[in-house]
């Protein structure tokens, strides 16, 4: 469990963090997508049309902030010292001047670009984790987030063909995902909704959407791949024993509930009630029971439909990513910027490497107080990145740059260049005509 560092989060520390460590220029380079004015094809107004929002210490919420460059952003943040910075969409016009357009036509102020985003929060998993609940996370339940990253990241890349994907620890109990490819940023709400639905397996109404129902003679290739490559292994090798999913009557009843065939459920119930006494300490009881469950459900006589999917349904229920659909479906949702400090835990929202996400440990993410201590203990050497590198934030920033920002900017520059050349070509042609 991650203790809440109320004490470590004080406004002086935050000021110092923004003053010395927060990577303003990286952040602005990112959301400018190559429109830095160095190329004649750049869109000079681009960064200024992006919405930022600040939450100040006394719960004051400032929406529709906009900045023309990294320096403006830096000055404003240093001055206001917000406890939370959110990033919104790119609008048709500068969001801070939106009122000037309010009188004109309906579409004068509207979002035109926005990263495709995903928000996965541990609280949505409370019915499948027994170690903690609500806002708490620990190393026993964190694998649920690892699974989510692996499943969604793989599909975003292999299925949807996206390349520039940023995963960020939300600072407390979940992860955020930013898909930044040009194509992703320009998706319509309808297209975003379609992607969110592609990832959704929980069916039913608002109040009961924790239920997985897999029908049809086969799983869709995306689900099948997720199942064999990620879900099954994590369920059997990790969550089954980690969460003790079958250890007590209350817990195994929940799984028996998911077996539509009452006679099979009662057969298993009978065996498990007996085995309470006789089980030896040699083998983990969860593993033993799961094997029995699989064996009964997959044995020849029960191969018919309905039951064939039952094992998969159970595994999906306990492992499959639970997305906050609304966040992904609409362009104008705000999402917390990377490298913010979570006001309750004091932890920095650091990027997570999807290729090594199983190594990510939320309990060792640098906290604000830890960073300040590191800053103070090292005396006063003041070259720019040197400051960063001697704190534990250095690795996080290096990861952000090398695995995300650099390849992204390279692709953006190429896109701008190509676009520009195409336009030149077209204008030449039209002159000729």
């Amino acid at each position: 469990m991650i203790p809440e560092h109320e004490s470590v989060f004080n406004s002086n520390h935050l000021k110092l963090y923004y003053g010395k460590l927060f990577p303003f220029s990286d952040l602005v380079k990112w959301v400018s997508y190559g429109n830095d004015g160095k190329h004649p094809g750049c869109d000079q107004s681009y960064i200024g049309r992006r919405e930022f929002s600040f939450t100040l210490e006394n719960d004051i919420y400032l929406r529709f902030q906009s900045f023309n460059n990294a320096l403006e952003l830096e000055n404003s943040i240093k001055e206001r010292s917000p406890v939370k910075i959110d990033i919104g969409p790119v609008y048709t016009v500068d969001p801070s001047k939106r009122h000037a357009y309010a009188q004109s036509d309906d579409n004068a102020f509207a979002p035109v670009e926005r990263e495709l985003i995903f928000d996965i929060d541990m609280t949505d998993y409370d019915d499948v984790r027994y170690c903690c609940s609500g806002a708490d996370v620990c190393l026993v339940c964190w694998p649920l987030m690892t699974i989510a990253i692996k499943v969604i990241d793989t599909s975003l890349r292999d299925d949807l063909g996206f390349k520039h994907i940023l995963w960020v620890y939300s600072g407390r109990r979940g992860v955020h995902c930013w898909v930044c490819d040009g194509k992703a940023r320009r998706l319509t709400n309808e297209q975003r909704g379609a992607i969110a639905d592609y990832f959704r397996v929980y069916k039913g109404n608002e109040n009961s959407h924790k239920k997985v129902s897999l029908t049809g003679a086969a799983l869709h290739p995306f689900l099948a791949t997720s199942y064999t490559n990620v879900l099954k292994n994590y369920f059997e090798k990790n969550l089954l024993t980690g969460q003790n999913l079958l250890a007590t009557e209350e817990r195994y009843e929940k799984i028996l509930d998911m077996i539509p065939d009452e006679s099979i459920a009662s057969e298993l119930r009978g065996r498990w009630q007996d085995s309470r006494r006789s089980s030896s300490a040699k083998e983990d009881i969860n593993v033993v029971r799961w094997e029995q469950c699989k064996q009964v459900l997959q044995s020849g006589k029960h191969k018919a439909q309905g039951l064939r999917r039952c094992i998969e349904e159970i595994v999906f229920s306990f492992t499959y990513p639970r997305l906050d659909m609304e966040v992904s479906k609409h362009m104008n949702h705000l999402l917390k910027a990377p490298f913010c400090v979570h006001p309750k835990t004091g932890r920095v929202c650091v990027p997570i490497d999807p290729n090594r996400c199983e190594e990510f440990d939320p309990t060792t993410v640098p906290t604000l107080s830890q960073l300040i201590e590191e800053l103070n203990s090292e005396g006063s050497r003041t070259d720019d990145d040197g400051e960063l590198n001697r704190t534990s934030l250095g690795n996080a920033i290096t990861l952000f740059r090398s695995s995300f920002l650099q390849p992204l900017l390279k692709a953006c520059k190429e896109e701008i260049e190509n676009c520009y050349n195409l336009k030149l070509q077209q204008s030449k042609n039209s002159l000729g005509w």
Binding site: D158, D159, L160, G161, F162, K183, L187, E190, Q191, G193, A194, I195, D197, Y198, K203, G204, N205, N207, S208, K211, S213, T215, G216, A217, A218, L219, H220, P221, F222, L223, A224, D257, M258, P260, D261, E262, S263, I264, A265, A304, Q305, G306, L307
Partner: protein, 561 residues
């Protein structure tokens, strides 16, 4: 008299449509360089409206048997079955209306005659003028033309479909054999996941996934590296969307031209015709779904018979019979009714009406009303309780005197047979249902019952009683001519309807065709129900019957004179 002044007297076949030799459908890209007589201007337009009308009468399929003058309307969900039952020679579309026949032709593999094509194109452009003038008119016209387009596109040969896609500049390439082989397993997997037969010989197109959002959302396509593999039969929706958006833009332009010049220029000639045409025919959109619509108390009885799953139907019948249900039954049925849209007041009235007959009004208010309000979140913890799912119902353990639970699971086989039979399932389907029950696949048994009663497959399977209900309503509403018919009668279509139906001696709406045999079509069509009141008609009242509508329609015409 000329209305479109041509630059040359070329035939419209010079348009892109016959650039290739593949017969296809016109896309109406440009106005025809043709001379049109004023009387044709109007009559072509009316013919096209007739085409719409036939298409609309719900995408029904129309039959006229060759040896009678009767017209049979069959709801389209059943059309494929009927088409296999009848040989093509038995199928006539609207005898006496060559235009409608051409528009809605079953077999379009032969080349249009130039006369028909001209008529098709002219009538389209006339109606553009008629329906460009308000948002409502445009919307209606768009939906009609899109439906017609879809309908005709589906009937084209694969070759012709490709030609249309090229016309639309869809840069999609058919997946090559080599590539097809490399992803074949996945494509088969997708097809199986949707409960469709294998797609071994189908043609697939690679389409950027964002261009087919509805296919992505339903996981109905295999997606790899940003491209969706779209089967030919799925491409219809894509092409139709393009057709619609191009037509939509064109209509706005037409409207501008109309208001800026044509209206004034044609003040004495076309304008009166155009205005008369649009005011005389604007049918309501029958396709509007009634999803989320609340149901009212008076509908319950009828819906219980037509659209409740067995578990709810049984509780409903028992409640009517005993005027009482025990707690488990009240919960299961009560929450279900809440789920289908019965509001709290109606729910109280519903339970009160039954229970008061047994326990008296006072006891009901004291003991039971609280519970109902509780279910609606108005009492106690104020939790808004949700209807039970199949799983919950199947795993419940009803005791003596209880009627809740899943009949497929909790009834004896004998009782179950009687109950299913009572719902109207035929004996062959019954054996399949019982077979599933014996293998303890209760939800599959319920799904088969649903399929037998609705004559349609239910690919997703039944997982929730409320899903059963809403799926059932969707099918019944789309095929219930009763609803369409009564709505139609309230609309301003009488005169046209009259014209459309005139040549037929009888018009029959065929609500259910599951057991349709070639033989009994003619026989039973001769015996319409004796009493028939239009408007109150509903398919569930006369399962399998054929309804003759002509007299009542004519009656209505007289009323509106």
């Amino acid at each position: 008299m000329e209305i479109f002044r041509p630059h040359s007297r070329k035939n419209v076949f010079s348009s892109s449509n016959d650039a290739s030799s593949v017969p296809t459908i016109p896309l109406y890209r440009s106005a025809p360089p043709l001379e049109v007589r004023l009387e044709d201007f109007e009559s072509f337009a009316i013919d096209r409206l007739r085409g719409f009308f036939f298409l609309r009468l719900s995408t029904f399929v129309f039959f006229a048997s060759s040896n009678s003058k009767d017209l049979l309307l069959i709801p389209s969900p059943f059309a494929p079955r009927v088409l296999t039952t009848y040989s093509a020679s038995h199928i006539y579309f609207s005898r006496g209306f060559p235009m409608v026949k051409e528009l809605l032709k079953v077999n379009m593999r032969h080349q249009y005659t130039s006369e028909v094509l001209n008529k098709d194109i002219i009538s389209h452009f006339v109606l553009r003028l008629v329906y460009c003038r308000t948002e409502d008119l445009r919307k209606w016209f768009l939906s009609m033309e899109s439906a017609l387009f879809r309908y005709r596109f589906r009937l084209l040969s694969a070759e012709a479909q490709k030609a249309v896609m090229e016309e639309f500049n869809l840069p999609y390439k058919a997946v090559s054999n080599v590539e097809f082989e490399s992803v074949k397993d996945k494509l088969v997997q997708v097809a199986r996941s949707m409960g469709q037969p294998s797609t071994a010989d189908a043609i697939f197109y690679k389409v950027p996934f964002e261009e087919v959002p509805e296919l992505v959302a339903g996981r109905k396509v295999f997606i790899k590296q940003g491209y969706a593999y779209v089967a030919m039969n799925q491409i219809v929706s894509l092409v139709a969307t393009l057709f619609r958006s191009q037509l939509s833009k064109a209509l706005i332009l037409t409207n501008r031209k109309w208001t800026s010049s044509i209206r004034e220029q044609e003040k004495h000639r076309l304008t009166p015709i155009v205005e008369a045409l649009s005011s005389s025919y604007l049918g309501p959109d029958y396709s509007q779904s009634r999803e989320n619509a609340d149901i009212s108390l008076k509908d319950i009885e009828q819906f219980a018979k037509s659209s409740f799953p067995l578990c709810m139907r049984h509780l409903f019948d028992k409640l009517k019979e005993d005027h009482h249900l025990k707690h488990g039954g009240r919960m299961q049925l009560g929450l279900f009714l809440k789920g289908v849209g019965l509001n709290l007041d109606d729910a109280l009235a519903f339970w009160r009406a039954e229970f008061s007959k047994k326990v008296g009004l006072e006891k009901f208010e004291k003991q039971y009303a609280y519970n109902i309000r509780h279910n609606y979140g108005k009492e106690g913890k104020r939790t808004d309780y949700t209807p039970y799912s199949c799983q919950k119902i199947i795993s419940s353990t009803p005791g003596a005197g209880d009627h809740h639970g899943c009949p497929y699971r909790h009834f004896s086989e004998e009782n179950l047979r009687a109950a299913i039979c009572g719902m109207g399932v035929n004996s062959r389907a019954m054996e399949d249902v019982i077979d599933k029950v014996r293998n303890r696949h209760y939800q599959l048994a319920c799904t088969l019952t649903f399929e037998a009663l609705h004559g349609m497959s239910c690919d997703a399977g039944i997982n929730h009683p409320n899903q059963y209900f809403s799926d059932s309503r969707k099918i019944l509403d789309s095929k219930t001519s009763a609803i369409s018919l009564s709505r139609m009668l309230q609309s301003r279509v009488f005169w046209l309807l009259h014209k459309v139906l005139e040549p037929f001696s009888g018009v029959y709406l065929v609500p259910q065709v599951m057991d349709l045999q070639r033989e009994n079509v003619v026989k039973s069509s001769m015996q319409p129900p004796k009493q028939f009141k239009c408007g109150s008609w509903n398919s569930s009242h006369y399962p399998g019957s054929w309804l003759k509508t002509r007299h009542s329609l004519l009656y209505t015409f007289h009323l509106y004179g």
